[in-house]
Structures are given as C-alpha cells and as structure tokens.
C-alpha cells in the first residue's frame, strides 16, 4: 500500500489529508492520478486545475516518475512560504 498525502488547498477540497492505496498495476504518478480522476468530483477539478505538484518520498518529482507500493506520494499546490 502506498501512502498518499494531500496538503493545503488540495487536502481541504478533497476533505482528506492522507490515505493508503494499493497501486496494483499503477507504475507511474500519472496512472495514479488517472485512478484518482475516476472518482469524479472534487478530485477531477482539483487534479485537472493543472496546479498540482507531486513529491515521491519527500523529493519533488514529475508525473512520469515511477511509483511503488512502499512509496509516500504527496500532492500539493505550488508553495507559498517565506
């Protein structure tokens, strides 16, 4: 089971900050996102906004990056600290 985290506006809109997902045959972030999009609203509008970044095991990654069931995969909006 991969750990999926959602931060900031994303976590608020999706009404969850973390969940466990069995990746099965999903091997890239994009495939995981497609799986999440299948849930419909509010997932679809949040992920289709184009303003979602991804980190795998706490390193910034891309949507074509490979993922596995032991990973911590985090989705969040562009950062606004400082």
């Amino acid at each position: 089971m991969a750990t999926i985290l959602y931060f900031a506006r994303l976590g608020e809109q999706l009404k969850t900050s973390s969940e466990q997902i069995s990746l099965n045959d999903m091997s890239t972030v994009r495939q995981l996102v497609d799986h999440l999009l299948d849930r419909g609203e509010p997932w679809s509008s949040e992920f289709e906004s184009g303003r979602v970044l991804v980190a795998i095991n706490q390193e910034m990654s891309g949507f074509d990056s490979a993922i596995s069931d032991t990973d911590e995969i985090a989705f969040f909006p562009p950062v606004t600290g400082g």
Partner: protein, 152 residues
Amino acid sequence: MSRISVQEQDFDVTTELQAICDARTDIGATVTFVGLVRDMNLDDSVSGMTLQHYPGMTEKALHKIVAEASQRWEVQDATIIHRVGELSPGDQIVLVCIASSHRHDAFEACSFIMDYLKTRAPFWKKEMLKDGSSRWVDARESDDHAAGRWEN
C-alpha cells in the same frame, strides 16, 4: 554546520546571530533577512495567517537549498528558521542568517536562499481576512522569476 528549524515559536534575531558567530574569528560578514506577516495582500486587509508545511520534506528541502548555496558561494554558517501555525500581522515568519568571510557571498547566498525557499520549500499560507473569510495564497509568478534568475 547549518541550523534549520521549522517551528511554531517566535525567534530572536540577536540570539541567532550571536549563535552563528559564537567563538569564531573567521567570519567577515553576516547577512540577516527577516520576513514579516503583512496586514495587506492583493488590496485586502489581512487579520491573520495559518502556515502549513510538509513535516520531513520541508526540512530536507531547506537543507538542500543551503547545500546548493554553499556550492555557489563561500558560506561558513547558515541558519534558517521558518515558523508554522497561526501568525498575526507584524509577526516574524522567516529568518535566514548567513555568515561568510566576505559580504558579497553573504548577500548573494541570503538572497538565493530566500528566492529558492519561496518556490521550492513546501510551505503554504492561508490568509484570514478582516471580513471573516479565508483563502489559500496563490503562488506568484514574480517569485518564479526571482528564483529563475539564479539559473543562468
């Protein structure tokens, strides 16, 4: 050598500056940047702010930014403190303190670290407005441009 802290508590600039210079005689310059919570944003009155972060990744990202600055300039020591949780206008939010042998390196490293922090460290601000509403702050294109100027 560097000190990175993500914390709810406030910080004291003088204490941090003394800690960085303590018992050293090889430091020729320190540059300190302190970011504060402003009471206005996008023409609206801001009454407060909540800062969220990604525990673990945020600290890693800050260490990486300091390491990158140290490769570009001579950085003898660095302290970054970033506050999270509930903050009010006028509160200190971030401290970057750089010690170097020369002022040029200290100025540049400090500026670079702030530009990268604003675009790469996972923090998110949510503003509370005077009318009682709240909103997540959107990332600014100007911050991307500021970070981008170090790429050349």
